[in-house]
């Protein structure tokens, strides 16, 4: 009796140290943040000294036009970045999924941007966007076109372009891996069935890649909501609030406005948003697994 119980407990005992460390490392800061978000909290105070204000910070943010603006910028940024990166990344993967000379070198070159530190990417693009000495405007000058105020009037677009440059490779390599694991013979069967290259993409390749593509898009979406360094270095959120994404606003609220409680509440809003996305992703996975299991059950029932 007792050994049976001990046997059952053994796995949990082995897992316990890891679980405790996880709980402390993960839950403590999280709890701290949630706790802080209910207080009117100044960096010079300890959290105990700060006054408890209930949901005031959340309600304040709910009605704060600057927060709305920042949220809007974040959503627009994430939407455009993920959509365009998906289209280009998947498109490139479809184009480069073939055996021609030098293709592996080309593939390696495509994933280089991903390996560069975000701060460096930010600096690089800030230089290239520079109104007078930047690469782009000098190029426009040289072919006689008017200059573009990259980081001024078109700041959000410019920031989006830089992010696309850095993160399209991520989607590219995942799509390429998905493509190369597709069943070769099914594609050959499609060729015999009369599918053109384009029809193979539409009817066979994309549908079969879909599970990978959905997860990839969600991963990128979550990441896009949290992007900070590149934009910080390129525009510092300006001009005005035009590129002030949430992560940046949180950081400024904490350091410049010294409103730790509001910053914490804002983080929690972001967290809730990301949580919804993640739950969505897991739900999708679960739904797929359930469907597969149901089909397997059907097969077994018959045999």
């Amino acid at each position: 009796m007792r050994t049976a119980m001990a046997n059952r407990l053994t796995p949990y005992m082995f897992m316990a140290p890891a679980a405790i460390i996880m709980a402390i490392a993960l839950m403590y800061p999280l709890g701290y943040m949630v706790w802080g978000s209910f207080r009117d909290w100044n960096p010079s105070q300890t959290i105990g000294e700060a006054e408890f204000v209930g949901l005031k910070n959340y309600i304040f943010l709910w009605n704060d036009p600057n927060f709305h603006e920042s949220l809007g910028v974040t959503l627009r940024f994430a939407f455009f970045v993920v959509t365009i990166e998906m289209v280009i990344g998947v498109g490139l993967a479809l184009l480069l999924d073939r055996e021609i000379r030098g293709i592996s070198l080309l593939r390696t070159m495509f994933i280089l941007p991903m390996m560069i530190a975000p701060v460096v990417v930010g600096l690089m693009w800030r230089y290239m966007y520079h109104p007078t000495v930047g690469t782009f405007n000098r190029f426009l000058d040289s072919i006689g076109l008017p200059r573009v105020d990259w980081l001024g009037d078109h700041a959000l677009t410019s920031v989006i372009i830089a992010d696309i440059w850095q993160w399209t490779p991520f989607i590219f390599i995942l799509s390429l891996a998905a493509l190369q694991s597709l069943p070769r013979s099914a594609l050959e069967a499609a060729r015999i069935d009369g599918a053109t290259a384009w029809q193979q993409i539409i009817h066979i390749k994309l549908p079969l890649m879909m599970p990978v593509l959905i997860v990839t898009a969600l991963l990128r979406l979550i990441d896009a909501f949290k992007v900070l360094e590149v934009i910080l270095v390129m525009t510092e959120g300006g001009p005005g609030l035009s590129t002030e994404i949430l992560a940046l606003r949180i950081s400024r609220t904490a350091t410049e406005f010294r409103e730790l409680g509001v910053a914490a509440a804002m983080s929690n809003y972001l967290l809730i948003l990301l949580l919804l996305l993640t739950v969505g992703m897991f739900a999708f996975n679960r739904w797929q697994e359930a469907r597969a299991a149901r089909l397997n059950a059907l097969v077994e029932e018959e045999s």
Binding site: P183, S185, A186, E188, A189, A190, R191, I192, D193, G194, A195, Q199, H203, I204, P207, L208, A292, L295, N296, L298, V299, E302, S303
Partner: protein
């Protein structure tokens, strides 16, 4: 239903040549089986006909029209793959109708066709299922139905039964044989299994090492193999080979070797006399040896029985003839005890001789 002609077909991967000039003609409505051991180039040949592999040299003619520059879809053919190659995200009906839908046939025609071929292969109740929810045999049927739905003149199979278990394979083989009689098509079937080849083929093409060894009806290949490879490949249990020397004694010709001394008569004796080299390999099928105590010693082999494999009505005896191993097929009723030395009469019509150096039949 077209004729297909392969003219000096060569395939190279890089600078490795895997097919060395295949010459083959497949008549209308003929069931041709390409058979040979794994790696001999059967699939490559079939895939070149399908247009899935480039032709390195030579030409493929369909009704005297060169087709090697055409895309697969322009060649009027259907193919069944070894791993079935079903579209995993489409249900059975969609799998079957894919080619028709791409060709933008009218809906009513598509539905009728799906219904017709589904009935033909017994899939009517599974049209809404995805391939993942089907058993191996059912997937095999979907692959077959998909090929049938296309109504093309040429039907290619690449080892379609090799992923099925033995019982199902036998059953599908029989169904395939039935189907090939019903649908008038030019069928080319690749397999490494000589039993499949024997049971299905109008004509068998034996390949080995990128060359065609022999082609002919199953009976021709079984009775008159042109070389030692074909003789050993066709037939189960395989032909016994014994190295020997031709000797003329008193006007008769004998083949003698380690543990045997056999007088030849009839056709094979004439051929042996005319042959220039004396070094030969004697080939006798296990079924051409008959247990007979009173057999004429000059027409018989004396063998030490070592192992008896019971396979139902027949048993296969593994015996020793000198240092060589010889298999004998006997009726299971035959009273044999292991360790005995027995005499087996040789069916003279079943005696094959091969030149030992060239391995070509005399």
């Amino acid at each position: 239903m077209p004729t297909i002609r392969l003219d000096n077909l060569v395939k190279r991967y890089g600078n490795v040549e895997v097919l060395h000039g295949i010459e083959l003609e497949m008549a209308e409505n003929e069931f041709t089986v390409l058979v040979g051991p794994s790696g001999c180039g059967k699939s490559t040949t079939l895939r070149m006909i399908a247009g899935l592999e480039d032709v390195s040299d030579g030409e493929i003619y369909v009704d005297d029209r060169p087709v090697s520059h055409l895309e697969p879809k322009e060649r009027d053919l259907a193919m069944v793959f070894q791993d079935y190659a079903l579209y995993p995200h489409m249900n059975v009906a969609q799998n079957i109708s894919f080619a028709l839908r791409l060709a933008r046939r009218p809906k009513s025609e598509i539905n009728a066709k799906v219904k017709e071929v589904a009935e033909m292969v017994g899939l009517t109740d599974f049209l809404g299922r995805k391939p993942g929810a089907l058993s191996g045999g059912q997937r095999q049927r979907v692959a077959m139905a998909r090929a049938l739905a296309k109504d093309s003149g040429i039907f290619l199979f690449d080892e379609p039964l090799s992923n099925l278990d033995a019982k199902l394979r036998g059953q599908m083989r029989a169904e395939l044989a039935l189907m090939s009689q019903r649908v008038q098509k030019n069928m080319i079937y690749v397999t490494h299994d000589q039993i499949e080849a024997m049971t299905l083929a109008d004509r068998i093409v034996v390949m080995h090492g990128g060359y065609i060894q022999q082609q002919g009806t199953p009976e021709e290949l079984f009775k008159r193999p042109v070389n030692k490879f074909v003789a050993g490949f066709m037939g189960m249990p395989p032909m016994n080979f014994l190295d020997g020397t031709l000797e003329e004694r008193a006007g008769d010709i004998w083949v003698a070797g380690d543990g045997f001394d056999l007088k030849l008569s009839g056709n094979i004796a004439t051929k042996a006399k005319a042959h220039s080299s004396r070094e030969v390999t004697l080939g006798i099928r296990p079924s051409d040896l008959n247990y007979a105590d009173d057999a004429d010693p000059s027409q018989a082999l004396t063998l030490d029985v070592q192992v008896s494999e019971y396979v139902g009505a027949q048993s296969v005896l593994l015996c020793k003839c000198g240092s060589a191993q010889v298999m004998v097929e006997v009726n299971s009723e035959t009273p044999v005890a292991l360790g005995q030395t027995l005499t087996f009469a040789v069916n003279q019509r079943g005696v094959h001789l091969f030149d030992r150096a060239t391995e070509i039949a005399l």
